[in-house]
Amino acid sequence: MSEIVYGVLVAPFRDMAGSPGFLAEVVIGGVFAGLLYSLVALGFVLIFKASGVFNFAQGVMVLFAALTLVGLLERGLPVVVALALTAAVMVALAFAIERIVLRPLVNQEHIILFMATIGLNFFLEGFGEMLWGANVKKLDVGIPDRSFMMGSIQVNQLELFAALTAAVLVAVLAVFFHGTRIGRALRAVADDHEAALSIGIPLKTIWVIVWSVAGIVAMVAGIMWGAKSGVQFSLSLIALKSLPVLILGGFTSVPGAIVGGLIVGVGEKLGEVYWGPLVGGAIENWFAYVVALAFLLFRPQGLFGEKIIERV
């Protein structure tokens, strides 16, 4: 018994204090993974805020964007052109989704829309693989995957670059949401669909914009993840990994997605490295969910989510 208590409460912290350099590397690895979760979660949040749709296809959108980019690069296009074309494809996709899927389903219950996005998930998976092939591809957009030493800590250049990109993206989104006319309209729609409609904000346009932005965020996530581990089907599974992030951060909060992603990423890595061996490892899959679940019991709306007020 005392061994278990020691193993859970003492030994991990002793190990952490014992080699701070290793701890820092674990934390940095966690931050990197967390940022990627954040990027996927960000796509979820944007769409959920503006249209109340829980977009299960976000993970496949990441895969689809990465596949398109790789496919275009393989045809010999320069990186910049390929990036622009991929972004254009994601915008076109947003238009198509709004027209074909969302508009006929307007005013349906949330679970129906959720289901429709799962259908979309299947469709895009098949479509992407049919267009570009199903084998694992290497994505190279010119970011070197090298490591260098910063003090006594090993830092990966790619991870550093990804972190910077994510930070820039979030900053741009923040400016977009708070500084522009469209951003203001987006926030209005997020607050209250009907009120926004009544003062003349075109809901359909807003939805296209939101899905486009989510598509571009998915593209960035796809590039980062694809550069790290190759473009393959498992890319779409990170959607599942980013769900606890949503719980932690709240479904409606952009900063929540970022902070939640970091917490989940770091917590997952720390848990796996320091506590995982106690129960035989491979706890990464559910650890985040259990943490998120425990968290939910005390704060059902997440870290930054809007307080849930219910009336009869």
Partner: protein, 358 residues
């Protein structure tokens, strides 16, 4: 229908509230059930029984369970695969520990075990709702699968990590294991799902079902008129998990023969949720229609190119299947968001007045 219900007057509440108040319905459904028991074992070949009808019945039972929870009690769950795994592993442990125990009893007991696990994972539903709850139930899915993978006790320390259905018989007829005929398996699965459907139908039209629906429609209002959320929600999780557990045990014992945790991964949870939504939330019939749709459509899609003489590369065929499947789901949701059961209901209404619609 072609028949009319004119002239069938109800003189008691009991006959008015019967499951099938119309005499012709009773006859038709009765005949259909008898036909389902008799015809396929005599007529269908091995492939149809083993690869189509048995999984259809097993999935229908799981869909029935999830429909009670999601369709009637309004609690969205993505942990179905996990609860089915609990049923399967519980059945395996029980029947290897007590080989003389009747296998049907083992199925029911493993359902009880799954129900107990479901109760535990249903506790968060008291605090959280909607998509938050859906994500929370994913915790059950991932945790349970991990547990069955990690602890060798669950597979009786088999090196392969798989559970295999041992030969078991009911009334002297083999129903599980390698020597059981697919006819015997089919009849067993059908009997279980038929009983399950009758019990479910009576649950949802009684006090329990009404309290579930009250919680689903407006939980605070339900609480105010005296429905206890704690008991009602946990009951829904327990009973739903019972159905899923029995279905999980059947999946291994009657359909797959042997399985590892991969058979119960997250895609199974989504598959069953699909069936419930495509079939119709809050409909017993819908669970069956949904299961039939999800089982039959991929089979149809696989065979359709051959029927028109088209030979496609395997990879392209698989991708086309995914696309058409996804497209069909969206199409059906747009045509009738309330599912196939609702479509059937509309058809019945129309036929009732046919050929004089006014």
């Amino acid at each position: 229908m072609i028949y009319r219900e004119a002239g069938q007057f109800k003189t008691t509440y009991a006959s008015d509230q019967a499951v099938f108040p119309i005499a012709q319905d009773r006859v038709v459904v009765g005949l259909a059930v008898v036909a389902a028991f008799v015809a396929p074992p005599l007529l269908a070949d091995e492939y149809w029984l083993q690869a189509v009808l048995i999984p259809l019945l097993v999935y229908a039972l799981a869909a029935l369970g999830l429909n009670l929870l999601t369709g009637y009690a309004g609690q969205l769950s993505l942990g179905t695969g996990g609860f089915m795994a609990v049923g399967a592993y519980a059945a395996f442990k029980l029947t290897t520990a007590f080989p003389q125990l009747n296998i049907i009893l083992v199925f029911l007991l493993s359902g009880v075990v799954a129900a107990a696990v479901g109760l535990v994972f249903g506790v968060p539903s008291l605090r959280i709702k909607g998509f938050y709850l859906a994500v929370a139930t994913l915790a059950a899915q991932f945790f349970l699968i991990w547990l069955f993978n990690k602890v060798p006790w669950f597979v009786n320390y088999a090196a392969s990590g798989t559970i295999t259905a041992p030969p078991r018989s009911v009334f002297g007829v083999m129903v599980a294991g390698p020597t059981a005929t697919s006819q015997a398996r089919y009849v067993t699965a059908l009997a279980l799902v038929a009983v399950g459907a009758i019990v479910a139908k009576n649950l949802v039209r009684g006090r329990v079902g009404r309290s579930w629906m009250a919680i689903r429609d407006r939980d605070i209002a339900a609480e105010i008129i005296g429905v206890r959320p704690l008991r009602t929600k946990l009951l829904a999780f327990g009973i739903s998990s019972f159905y899923c557990g029995v279905a999980g045990a059947e999946l291994v014992f009657l359909y797959l023969g042997s399985a590892e945790t991969l058979a119960f991964d997250i895609s199974l949870s989504f598959l069953v949720l699909f069936m419930v939504i495509i079939g119709g939330l809050g409909s017993i019939l819908g669970s069956f229609l949904g299961a039939a749709f999800i089982v039959l459509v991929p089979i149809f899609l696989t065979n359709a190119p051959h029927l028109v003489g088209l030979v496609l590369p395997v990879a392209l065929q698989k991708e086309m299947e995914l696309m058409v499947f996804g497209g069909l789901i969206i199409f059906f949701l747009i045509v009738e968001p309330n599912g196939l059961a609702r479509l059937w209901q509309i058809t019945k209404e129309k036929l009732r007045l046919w050929p004089f619609p006014h």
